[in-house]
Amino acid sequence: MLLSSFEKLGQYILLMRKVFTRPQKWRVFFNQLIKEINKLGVDSISIVIIISLFIGAVIVIQIALNISNPLLPRYTVGFTSREIILLEFSSTIMCLILTGKVGSNISSEIGTMRVTEQIDALEIMGVNSANYLVLPKTIGLMVFVPVLVVLSMFFGILGGFAVCFITHAVTIVDFEYGLQSFFKEFYIWYAIMKTIFFAFLIASISAYYGYYAKGGSLDVGKASTNAVVITSILILISDLVITDLMMG
């Protein structure tokens, strides 16, 4: 098992070497990049908004219910919600969700191309298939996931406001005061930097599993599942490392 893991790591590094080369035609690359940003990023906006609104609302309710101590000021609800949304939910949890949506899409698309010999067809033409297929997806995701994360932060907090307005769990004034208290701009940059790395993991690992898929549709499904599982685990491990490095 250890040997197989090292073999996979080596194969992944070799694939990345092929991916990160100069595109054969910049115009074709930019066309692909726009398509990928649209397909992988823009098409994920709605799911990001829906999830963020609801989770933001739930976070506020949970905190308001669980921090009902007279010694703690009411604005703590806004402050804690902001910290959770900015530091972990909109970056890490949202990337885990995107792994399921975008990562499986990437690995199944590339995997299907592999088993139907479309990648071989590219190679025969003299196209660097890894570069042509994976680079636009990777760059596209690294460019657009931070946008999704900022959107998620905005809509998460909006969900919090909505719940304050509807349920009066905490007053809007207290919630807003909490949101503004002890704010550190660095947290936003920390979240963005983290997600750029997570986006790279999502695109490259999913592409790796698709690129080396073998067999038929069943194997493509298996590759897609493996891609999601491994990416999720690596996101969680790297979250721990990055947090310790940047915040510890």
């Binding site: 054969q24 035609k25 074709v28 299907t112 191309m113 139907t116 010999e117 479309q118 071989d120 067809a121 190679e123 025969i124 033409m125 003299g126 196209v127």
Partner: protein
């Protein structure tokens, strides 16, 4: 000319190609035949560089494919066109875009010239009106024709076909065979077809190579095959009663003429 010298390929200790040597004739339709699992596809994948042989050499006009640098390999690949068993058209592109793609990537033509060339290739395979359709919207025969159009778009010197008739009805198979043969003659391409379709063997096989268990068992023309005394070849080629009868009739005709 493509010359294969003592080609060997093993997978985890199992030897699939056991020292194959052959010369593919230039400007002709060369056929590789053999039972499933005999090593035909492995041989074809080695010929186009999708697999690296364990040992041996593959010479393209003297250039050894096994020793080419990445840049040289890229240049050689632009002299190749390939038709895959399942057509391997890009799902996300229309038929026209599939044919246009290699031109867009590698041709120095202007945009309008590229479009003209792509349309010419589609016209040549009788798909003039199917350019706007996606691969999922066309039949198997049309997919094969689109794959031929894509393969010839860059004016290749060598055309490879991996079982071009698989999954097609006999009539469409004949059309595809004829089309490949016409293109071979018209554009003076060296074509190598991997098949176990006996109609193709008899109709278009100018040079035939019979592979058995990783060895070259027999080679000759489609006329030689009728008189061949190789037992394994006869068992394979004339496995069906229909072909046995065809053989008897053909031999009778030849003897009558003599």
């Amino acid at each position: 000319m493509i010359e294969v010298k003592n080609l060997r390929k093993s997978f985890e200790g199992r030897e699939v190609l056991k020292g194959v040597s052959m010369i593919f004739e230039e400007g002709k339709t060369n056929l590789i035949i053999g039972r499933s699992g005999s090593g035909k596809t492995v041989l074809l994948k080695n010929l186009v560089g999708l697999m690296r042989p364990t040992s041996g050499s593959i010479l393209y006009d003297g250039r050894d494919l096994t020793k080419l640098s990445t840049a040289q390999m890229k240049a050689l690949r632009q002299e190749m066109g390939m038709i895959f068993q399942g057509s391997a058209l890009f799902d996300a592109m229309t038929v026209f875009e599939n044919v246009y793609f290699p031109l867009d990537m590698f041709s120095s033509m202007s945009r309008s010239e590229k479009k003209e060339r792509a349309q010419f290739c589609l016209d040549r395979v009788n798909l003039s009106d199917a350019g706007h359709l996606y691969p999922s919207e066309i039949s198997g025969g049309m997919m094969k024709r689109a794959a031929i159009a894509r393969a010839i778009s860059l004016n290749p010197k060598y055309l490879y076909c991996d079982e071009p008739n698989s999954g097609l009805d006999p009539q469409t198979s004949l059309v595809i065979d004829q089309l490949i043969h016409e293109i071979t003659t018209e554009f003076k391409i060296t074509t190598i077809i991997n098949t176990h379709d006996m109609n193709s063997v008899m109709n278009i096989g100018e040079k035939i190579f019979f592979i058995k268990e990783g060895n070259l068992e027999w080679e000759g023309t489609n006329q030689d095959i009728l008189m061949a005394d190789n037992e394994a070849l006869n068992d394979f080629v004339f496995a069906s009663d229909l072909f046995k009868k065809v053989k008897e009739v053909e031999i009778k005709e030849i003897r009558d003429q003599e």
